[in-house]
Amino acid sequence: MLTMKNVSKVYQTEMVQTHALRDFDLEVKEGEFIAVTGPSGSGKTTFLNIAGMLEPFSSGQYMLDDVNVGALSDNQRADLRNQKIGFIFQGFNLIPDLNLYENVEVPLRYRGIKAAERKKRIEACLEQVGLASRAKHLPQQLSGGQQQRVAIARALAGEPRFLLADEPTGNLDSLMARQVMELLEQINRDGATIVMVTHDPELARRAPRNIQIVDGQVADLTLYQGVARQTDRAVVGG
């Protein structure tokens, strides 16, 4: 579903050039659940942003479902994000002035889905994350875990085949983190491909496939144990 070949990303600021990704190679298959770990600043978010077409890359090739992402226009990327990708953010990113129902509705409106169909989907998604009774609440009336579940409902509403999550449990306590993880596992079982960046080795271990990014590249580690040790050390060191 996703193939990156030699993808590089360079951030050019006044003083320095940062190579956030260098010759990054990765293939993600339909239906996978991948946990991405790695030290802080190693390029995990950059990878996720490029995978989600939130920012352009400097060189290399990125194919998403046989579409050459590098050749797309801004509008085409927006439409593709809307149709294929669901985002889950560390900070939830719910729109504070919209209630839960309206928040979940946002991507559906951009898709141009009719009101009746929207309603059906929103209710189903809120039901799935266990917040159907709170549809009229504003985000600030919910706990962090509940907010993240709404964000997941919003990501699911458009029925994306590809879910990208950047430290979705980073702002949650471990109980809530586990609930969110269970939700993601359920979604994966229902068929969505998931790439999740996490700092939590326990959660990473639960994912069928682990990738570690170090210094803008996929670390060439085959042994799962090794991955876990590296991650722990890197976190301590970074």
Partner: protein, 401 residues
């Protein structure tokens, strides 16, 4: 895709900024539409046709203190002297100068007093048969005074028997439009309307009947008198310059004052209106500028406050045009609310002005025109900030925590 409902909901939940802007738009609409209407009304007033070739006419006042001459005779000699001056077309002694802001008015009765009957108010001028030519107006009906219609006297019991009236006056007195030849009365003294002039303004342009004017063929020589002079085109300044000397050369026991051009006289009379006009214009410009800046600033503020939200919307599939449209729709909604309130306020304000300051009734097209202008201005003020918002990168969604 228009997302009006969620925008309204979002506005309701954080309304302070929006309400302030709405009020500002309402106030601007209310004030600007009334001010624009008043400006237009005053402009029409200031630029109205008075019926006179103002640029060729001037007047002066004569204050006689010498007792050694018969005034009536002196004025007759003065008139002859003036009418023969090079560059002068005609001249006339009068009790009042049109457009000058000072003169006399009285009610002219349709029945002799004390019989009950309607009377019609008119500013009146008293002068001889040269008055029409001096003022540069022409009769549209009837005849001018004959020289022997003119009464030159000091006897208060001798009154003129004929008069020339404006069309407006004659039609008010005789709504059938057949005023020519009709009798009217000053008290119980009859006079006959022998001539009608289509357009000729009285002494006060701001009178509620500035077009009601009557000329009587009557000269009652007073120690304080006015003279009106019409010159050949382009000759006025030269004639005005030497007029005092000429008058004093004819007789020197008097003082010549107020040598003033008719258009200048009118300008001075209207000075407060001109000032008001300018102040209203400044007010409009300032108000409109403040509102535009307010919208501009509020949108910029909204955008910086909502940077992450915009990035998130982009991440969720909003195109740049969706972001621009969001802000345009949001602003148009606020503006529509403001205009609704503003138009209502404008109409109420117009009614108050009508009642309290007897201004003419506000015409709806000024409200509509102002509303349209305010709408266009809001759209212009929001377009730049909205375009900036659309440039916010979707990666903001993951980058800013």
């Amino acid at each position: 895709m228009l997302e009006i409902k969620p925008i309204i909901n979002a506005l309701r939940r954080s309304k302070v900024g929006a309400v302030l802007l709405l009020i500002q738009i309402a106030i601007t609409t209310a004030i600007v539409s009334n001010a624009a209407f008043i400006i237009q009304d005053r402009m029409t007033y200031l630029q109205q046709d008075t019926g006179y070739p103002e640029q060729d006419i001037f007047s002066l006042s004569v204050m006689t203190y010498g007792k050694d001459r018969d005034l009536s005779q002196q004025f007759e000699e003065d008139e002859n002297m003036l009418r023969n001056l090079p560059g002068v077309v005609d001249a006339a002694i009068t009790n009042a100068v049109p457009l000058s802001g000072s003169g006399s008015a009285s009610g002219m009765g349709l029945k002799p007093a004390p019989e009950p009957g309607r009377s019609v108010r008119a500013g009146y001028l008293m002068a001889d048969d040269h008055m029409l030519n001096t003022l540069g107006v022409t009769l549209s009906e009837g005849r001018n005074f004959y020289p022997d219609d003119v009464i030159v006297t000091q006897d208060p019991n001798k009154l003129p028997k004929v008069a020339i009236a404006t069309r407006t006056f004659a039609d008010e007195a005789f709504p059938e439009g057949d005023g020519l030849g009709k009798m009217m009365y000053i008290g119980d003294r009859p006079f006959k309307i022998i001539g009608i002039v289509d357009k000729m303004k009285g002494p006060w342009l701001k009178d509620d009947r500035p077009d009601n004017v009557i000329i009587f063929p009557y000269i009652k020589a007073e120690t304080y008198q006015h003279i009106i002079i019409r010159t050949e085109p382009g000759q006025r300044a030269a004639v005005m310059q030497t007029i005092e000397d000429k008058m004093l050369a004819a007789y020197d026991k008097r003082v010549i004052t107020n040598v003033i051009a008719m258009d200048e006289d009118k300008r001075q009379y209207n000075a407060s209106d001109t000032l008001m006009l300018r102040m209203l214009m400044v007010l409009i410009v300032v108000l409109v500028a403040i509102t535009a800046l307010g919208i501009f600033g509020l949108t910029l503020f909204n955008i910086s406050k909502r940077t992450r939200q915009i990035g998130t919307r982009r991440a969720l599939g909003a195109r740049k045009s969706d972001i621009i449209r969001y802000f345009m729709v949001e602003n148009t909604l606020i503006c529509a609310g403001g205009l609704l309130l503003g138009c209502t306020a404008a109409i109420l304000m117009g009614q108050q002005l009508l009642q309290r300051f007897s201004l003419p009734a506000l015409e709806m097209q000024y409200v509509a025109g102002t509303a349209l202008m305010v709408l266009v201005m809001t759209l212009l003020a929001v377009i730049f900030p909205a375009r900036r918002a659309a440039q916010i990168s979707p990666s903001v969604a993951t980058r800013s925590i």
